[in-house]
Symmetry: C2
Subunit: 303 residues, 2 copies
DNA sequence: GATACCCATGAAGCAGTGCTTCACGCTCAA
DNA sequence: TTGAGCGTGAAGCACTGCTTCATGGGTATC
């Protein structure tokens, strides 16, 4: 393969008409240019320059080669420009993985701000469940994923770097006509006699309920297993029971339910920003990372 | 400037989907490929590959860069192909400088044979006088020039390499009704009383006459100074005198003159092939060089 | 579920190469 | 004649790109 740096030298020499001028332009000594061009001629198997008293002139082969060299240099510049665009966030794609509750709470703000700030970047958002998020992250389908955990079961995945974004306290959902509906705050010990709505499929919030009730000295009576928090709220609203939920899951509650704070003795969910532990991260990823941190901080203080 | 060899590696890795495969394909170790790609990522300022359990996958930047790399490699191949075409005489130009007498004698055969043998090469022929030929040669306008000299005034130009092509003996031209017209051969001593036609402008053939006459013990009487050998023959044909000429100059003599050999005591013109003393010569030049040597040898033996 | 293979990676070391410095010869212009 | 501009060459130095050897994670195979 012809040496492209030598081709670049040739092009410069042909353009300037002199080795010395080309050397100066490119920051070399004239000797270096002379030696490299000599080598290029050997590679090419034919003379590329006519040496004259005042500078040099390309031979036919030299002119042909210099033409190709210019094309190649153009391409190289284009490649570098593309990299700069990707780095400068004037181009590129960021894929973000989220889970449903945070998606509805945080994402609208994130997306609109991202669109405003980086109008040329493409944003792909995927909402799915925890274990698939980790998989997407690991195989590179998404660059950043939002995860969550509880104190007794911290996320710990090899080569995944985590940044806590939010503390998402657990709240109580009761029907609008529930005896506690007028209160803004209660404790688990007030709830020993309630019927409970939980998430189905061993959802972690079930464990929150378990632990909180045990700490308060009772065992919850399970009345219904809901598939998501919308369903849970619906059941609560018709008086089937009360439910626990992360606060972000009930940002826009069903009008027939009320949300009560429970204090710090009930475990809070932690929302995390996760990304692969690369030496280098794609610039668009870094941008999204920062944006998420900002939005989460504002969200946290706003509530 | 991005390193093109690394780009080539990237393209190969992206194509094969694995560093090991790319390494094997290109004759490197996997370690070398890994190290170079790591460097390329640093140069690019962003990750180019997602490392997976089974091989690697390009990131967005990696895919973009690999695309450019493929274009650049294509160009490089094209450049090499062009060089090969020039070297393989399937393309190119050869410029040849000649002087009039040899042009009419040797060139028809040279041109027709060159056209047949190298139909894709372009042939430029320039016919001019000696000193301009040397200049054309030195500034590269022609790659090969035919020159001539006599024993007492050998061509010796710095950096010009010479190959003798022909010995071009001096012949005598007499009118068809001249007393010697029936002979095929004579000597200078027979010609002491003749009137002489010479070339004007101190043409070297005048010196041939001078020296030959002096050697034969007489001083020539100059009757006319001709501007070229056609004119000289015309003057001879009407009986104005006799003339000396290189044999190649009278290959197709005026029908009213006769040409006589003079033997070796009259100086012969030497026809030379001249080219710049390059380490490397353009392939088309080499081809023309060989062709001229061949044609000259045949011409020499044929006469 | 244990084992062997595949793949990427890292450290150490060696050879080639690309550069600089210094010196020289040539040509052209003052 | 001299000096500036240009190309070239020898010597030497530092870098870099490669290899070898060793390691660790992940997958497929039995």
């Amino acid at each position: 393969m012809l040496d492209v740096r030598r081709l670049a030298l040739l092009a410069a020499v042909v353009d300037t008409g002199s080795m010395t001028a080309a050397a100066e332009q490119l920051g070399y000594t004239a000797s270096a240019v002379s030696q490299q061009l000599r080598r290029l001629e050997v590679e090419a198997g034919q003379p590329l320059l006519h040496r004259q008293a005042r500078g040099v002139r390309p031979t036919e082969a030299g002119a042909v080669l210099a033409g190709h060299a210019r094309q190649i240099l153009r391409r190289l510049s284009a490649a570098e420009a593309d990299l700069a665009e990707l780095a400068g966030l004037r181009r590129g794609t960021i894929a973000l993985g989220v889970f449903p509750t945070v998606a509805s709470a945080l994402l609208p703000e994130v997306v609109s701000r991202f669109r405003r700030q980086y109008p040329d970047l493409r944003l792909d958002v995927r909402s799915t469940r925890f274990d698939e998020l980790v998989e997407l992250l690991e195989n590179g389908t998404v660059g950043i994923a939002l995860l969550w955990d509880y104190a007794w079961n911290r996320v710990d995945v090899e080569d995944i770097s985590l940044t806590p974004l939010l503390d998402d306290p657990t709240v109580l959902i009761v029907a609008a006509d529930h005896r506690l509906a007028r209160k803004r705050f209660t404790t688990m010990s007030e709830l020993a006699d309630e019927d409970w709505i939980v998430r189905a499929h061993d959802h972690p919030v079930a464990e929150v309920l378990e632990r909180s009730c045990r700490a308060a000295g009772f065992t919850p009576k399970i009345a219904f297993e809901a598939n998501d928090y919308q369903e849970a709220q619906a059941m609560v609203s018709v008086g089937l029971g009360v439910a626990l939920a992360p606060r972000t899951a009930v940002r826009n509650p069903n009008p027939d339910v009320r949300v009560l704070a429970l204090g710090t003795d009930v475990p809070a969910r932690r929302v995390l920003l996760a990304h692969r532990q690369d030496r280098l991260r794609a610039p668009a990823e870094l941008a999204m990372h920062q944006l998420l941190v900002d939005v989460a901080r504002e969200y946290q203080t706003r509530v």
